[in-house]
């Protein structure tokens, strides 16, 4: 076994270990943390980028390294890097808890990285638990917030139920098909008439992943957790677990032949998920809640690429996941910079953003338009790839619904732009709300960098696609 194959995971583990040591050694380590963690996370992205081409099968066939796993590992580490620089200065986190906070965050990212490579049901389950459990403590780490406590209970409870159901489903699969390796399972029949128990088991097993994805009907936690958790924590929860879940779902996607019951059920749920998420988001006033519902609808779009069940579909979903990281972080970036003292941001707080900080307003506009799926952003390209991969795969109706949903989604995403740019609150421009307050030049330029990437990959998606294949 070549240890070099596992470089991304090992590096992440190293980061976890370092955080653990620091958390034990010194209680007031926050200042130190700021000095090395962002750089280490950035180095992690480079390490992942360097190991994109790795290929292999480890640990008796339970752990596969291929373009899919390596691409998603890079996406996870990129997301982790963004989450670190986004959250390193968060106001509602006590200094002495900072090390633990990032320890759990890094641990969860590590779990997600492992999840990307697992190709065997038990190891998938373990990696999923590792990623989930280390996320649960992050939610309540928001100073003196009852909401955060409530959100964490909800998150843990629903997460617990979902994984239990998943485990139950796993037992059915094992009983019906006598195999746990995906490579073997792939060639077995998955029709209801042949083996109802296996189909039932597969659906139940996937529910554990659907929970991570905030996919209907496992979506209840998303708006509440987003609202209750700290802004920076919500940014992490909104993005990274989804990436991991999609990576595993794509492992299952060869199962999803057109016409199978599982495929139909997932397609149906995808349609419900995107429509429900969009409709519910129309009414939201809290920006984080709005993004929570938008996450539900985006889970539906990601699923369209999965149910396509082709390599093209996998490529499309991978691109979509990557652009989802970018566009969601772009929106959360503005949200975290704009919220005063870490409080939740309401739509009306965005009024006048254009005057206070034109750069951030632009980032928000690009992020929102990418979430709608308007060109020329990566969001459009992602949507286009996903839809075109799913056409003629037995669920054209799903493609039509997905395309029509763009028109619903436009309203609430546009609301972000509307409030930031066109609404006036009648108050004269106050010098106290000068651009320096809502973020230094450095902070704005990171946001602009995200926006630039969104537009760049919207026009030239080739670099990302090439990384995948």
């Amino acid at each position: 076994m070549n240890i070099m194959l596992l470089m991304p995971e090992l590096f992440q583990l190293l980061m976890v270990a370092a955080l653990f040591v620091q958390s034990i050694l010194q209680k007031e380590g926050a200042a130190q943390l700021k000095k090395w963690l962002p750089w280490a996370a950035a180095l992690g992205v480079i390490v992942c980028y360097g190991s994109l081409a790795q290929n292999g099968l480890l640990f008796s066939g339970t752990y596969r390294l291929d373009n899919l796993s390596q691409f998603f590992k890079m996406t996870v580490s990129f997301g982790f890097f963004l989450a670190v620089i986004n959250g390193i200065n968060q106001p509602l986190l006590e200094k002495e808890k900072k090390c633990d906070y990032f320890l759990f965050m890094a641990l969860s990212a590590w779990g997600l990285m492992i999840l990307c490579s697992t190709v065997e049901l038990i190891s998938i389950y373990l990696a999923l638990e590792l990623a989930s459990f280390s996320l649960f403590p992050l939610v309540p780490l928001r100073t003196k917030s009852g909401r955060a406590a409530e959100a964490s209970v909800k998150y843990m409870f629903i997460g617990g139920v979902a994984t239990t159901v998943g485990l139950f489903g796993f037992s059915y699969i094992l009983a019906a098909q006598h195999a746990t390796n995906l490579q073997q399972l792939m060639h077995m029949p998955w029709t209801w008439s042949h083996s109802p128990m296996a189909v039932m088991g597969l659906i139940l097993f996937l529910s554990g992943l659907l929970f991570k994805l905030a996919f209907f009907p496992f979506h209840f936690w998303a708006p509440d957790v987003y609202e209750g958790a700290g802004n920076e924590t919500a940014a992490y929860i909104a993005v990274l677990p989804k990436v991991g879940a999609v990576a595993v779902l794509l492992r299952f996607s060869p199962f999803l032949k057109p016409g199978l019951e599982v495929t139909t059920i997932l397609a149906l749920l995808a349609a419900v998920s995107m429509t429900y998420g969009n409709l519910a988001a129309l009414l939201q006033k809290d920006v984080k809640r709005l993004l929570g519902y938008s996450a539900i609808s985006h889970a539906g779009y990601l699923m369209v690429g999965v149910v396509a069940g082709t390599p093209m579909g996998a490529e499309a979903a991978a691109f979509y996941a990557f652009s989802y990281v970018l566009m969601n972080f772009a929106c959360f970036w503005v949200l975290c910079r704009e919220s005063k003292d870490g409080k939740n941001l309401m739509l009306k707080d965005l009024i006048g953003l254009w005057e206070r900080s034109p750069g951030l307003a632009f980032v928000l506009a690009v992020g929102a338009m990418a979430l709608v799926g308007l060109p020329p952003t990566a969001g459009f390209m992602g949507k286009f790839f996903v839809l075109s991969a799913a056409w003629n795969r037995g669920c054209n109706w799903l493609v039509v619904i997905a395309a029509a949903n763009v028109a619903i989604a436009l309203f609430y995403y546009l609301n972000l732009v509307r409030y930031a740019y066109t609404k006036a609150d009648g108050k004269p421009f106050e010098p106290s709300r000068s651009p320096t307050e809502s973020g230094s030049v450095w902070m704005v330029s990171v946001g602009l960098f995200l926006a630039a990437l969104l537009i760049l990959f919207g026009i030239l998606p080739n670099p990302i696609l090439r990384m995948f294949s």
């Binding site: 308007l374 286009f384 039509v400 029509a404």
Partner: protein, 517 residues
């Protein structure tokens, strides 16, 4: 057809985008306006290269083909033919016009205004020159955001609602267009429009595709009954916004019918033609009647625009050369006259502070030159012989009578209404009592500069449209020819239509049906 040449279309698309960069360093709004004006004129310079357009061929010219995302079949494919050449030209022409017309009317956020305008122009040129369906869609939707900002940030009092209605309505219309594009790829094997034009699709497929496309295009035109976003958007937008919306963006819909609707789904176009003709006649009459009832100057022009665009779509769906020629000429001419009318209304607004007719009375005595220009464009607006609109409208009516007496008979009152609703406000403005125009300044040099070229074009195109026809004819003839031959072929094959058609054609007819030995 394909020879190495200067990538003129890319240049036209990129120049406005690159032109935005210097805005970053400009402080005074005066400098910004001058730079915008210079750049909009500079944009016309590479446009002159388009004069090398070869007449007498229906091929696409100035074609640029670069692989884009090869795995997914996307291609960066640009090119113009007789149909799109004048749309590109119209965009180039309207661009400096918009900059001049917003010289004083835009007061705040001058930089952002011009950036939005530049991006909009770039996207519009992209729409008219894209030959790859996805590229077309990309530019098509990229138009939305800058337009939304133009209306929502610099518009009148009801701007927020108007802008919201505009963007929701148009995006809802075109959301499914993406599905149609994907379906074309799967059925036809390519996103390239020239390739797809040579494929024939099953009638059923064509019907679905046509309905989806027609929805997107009808909203954009707009066509009755999808027009309800229009009065608000046209009325509330700033002058430059109204001009570019009516003069260029309305043409996107009609252009869509010509570029995609007719060539890609010819049988469905014929099948649905009665519906589209009925909708366009409704637009003509309904728009005319509503324009007659308005007291807001901009709303009058907006509704008149509904009527004119009704004529355009009518011409397209007549499927004879006269009609389509007329439609294309009318598209160009409507851009010039309606743009000018909106501009004059904007100039008046800067003096009166209101678009209401009762605030612009008795101009004939106090600002005669102004009144003269308004009157001139009004005459052009209702297609007075000798002006540009006459040519287009005459050809469309001729085509209508050629196809069916009743279509022609129903469209003629629309032309009469146009004269009525245009002359009614004109009379009030010229001689209305009590005059409100006392103490107004007559035309200032900047207004002369903007209106005189337009007036000259009105006369030139009205008196000598031959050059125009020479350029567009080959492409249109090719299109009509393809429509007729392919239509006949599918009629032979498809039993559904056979049953509905009255003249009974034998099944084993010798019309060259597919698969016949």
């Amino acid at each position: 057809m394909i020879e190495p040449h200067f990538p003129i279309l890319t240049c036209l698309i990129l120049l406005p985008l690159l032109g935005c960069v210097p805005f970053w360093f400009m402080k005074t709004s005066r400098a910004i306006r001058w730079w915008a004006f210079v750049l909009s004129l500079a944009e016309m310079m590479p446009g002159l290269y388009l004069l090398r357009f070869e007449m007498g061929t229906a091929d696409f010219q100035f074609v640029e083909s670069v692989p884009w995302v090869t795995d997914w079949g996307l291609q960066y494919l640009l090119g113009v033919d007789g149909i799109s050449l004048f749309m590109v030209a119209l965009t180039l022409l309207i661009f400096p016009f918009c900059v001049i017309c917003s010289w004083t009317s835009i007061k705040g956020r001058v930089k952002e205004f011009h950036v939005s305008l530049f991006i909009l122009v770039s996207a519009l040129i992209g729409v008219f020159s894209a030959l790859d369906l996805v590229l077309f869609y990309l530019f098509w939707e990229a138009v939305l955001i800058p337009t939304y900002l133009l209306i929502a940030l610099w518009g009148g009092n009801g701007r927020d609602q108007a802008a919201l209605k505009f963007i929701l309505y148009t995006l809802a219309g075109s959301a499914l267009l993406l599905v149609a594009i994907i379906a074309f790829r799967v059925e036809g094997g390519s996103y390239a429009i020239p390739t797809l034009m040579s494929r024939s699709f099953s009638f059923r497929f064509q019907q679905w595709m046509f309905v989806i496309m027609a929805l997107a295009f009808a909203v954009k035109v707009p066509l009755f009954p999808f027009h309800s976003w229009m009065p608000g958007a046209y009325g509330e937008a700033p002058v430059a916004g109204s001009i570019i919306l009516s003069a260029v963006m309305a043409k996107m819909g009609a252009y869509g019918f010509l570029r995609l609707g007719l060539p890609l789904t010819p049988d469905a176009a014929q099948y649905f033609a009665p519906l589209l003709i009925a909708m366009s006649i409704c637009s003509i009459l309904y728009g005319g009647l509503l324009a007659f009832a308005q007291s807001d100057l901009k709303k009058i022009i907006a509704y008149s625009s509904l009527g004119h665009m009704g004529f355009v779509v009518l011409g397209i769906f007549l499927f004879n050369l006269n009609g389509v020629q007329g439609a294309l000429i009318q598209m160009f001419n409507h851009g010039i006259t309606t743009g000018s009318l909106f501009a004059v209304a904007g100039f008046l607004y800067s003096r009166s502070g209101s678009h209401n007719l009762s605030r612009t009375l008795g101009l004939g005595k106090f600002v005669p030159v102004f009144m003269g220009f308004w009157g001139f464009f009004v005459f052009a607006g209702f297609a007075f012989p000798g002006t540009n609109n006459f040519v287009g409208e005459f050809l469309i009516l001729a085509g209508a009578f050629e196809r069916n007496l009743w279509i022609g008979a129903l469209a003629v009152p629309g032309a009469l209404l146009a004269a009525a609703y245009m002359l009614r406000p004109t009379q009030k403005m010229a001689w209305g009592e009590p005059a409100t125009a006392t103490g107004w300044r007559d035309m200032i040099p900047r207004e002369w500069v903007s209106l005189v070229p337009m007036a000259l074009l009105v006369l030139y195109l009205g008196l000598a449209p031959t050059l125009f026809l020479k350029v567009i004819n080959p492409s249109l003839k090719h299109m009509i020819g393809a429509l007729e031959s392919r239509g006949a072929m599918t009629l032979m094959v498809d039993k559904n239509i056979l049953r509905t058609s009255n003249n009974r054609v034998p099944f084993d007819g010798n019309a060259g049906g597919g698969g016949h030995p």
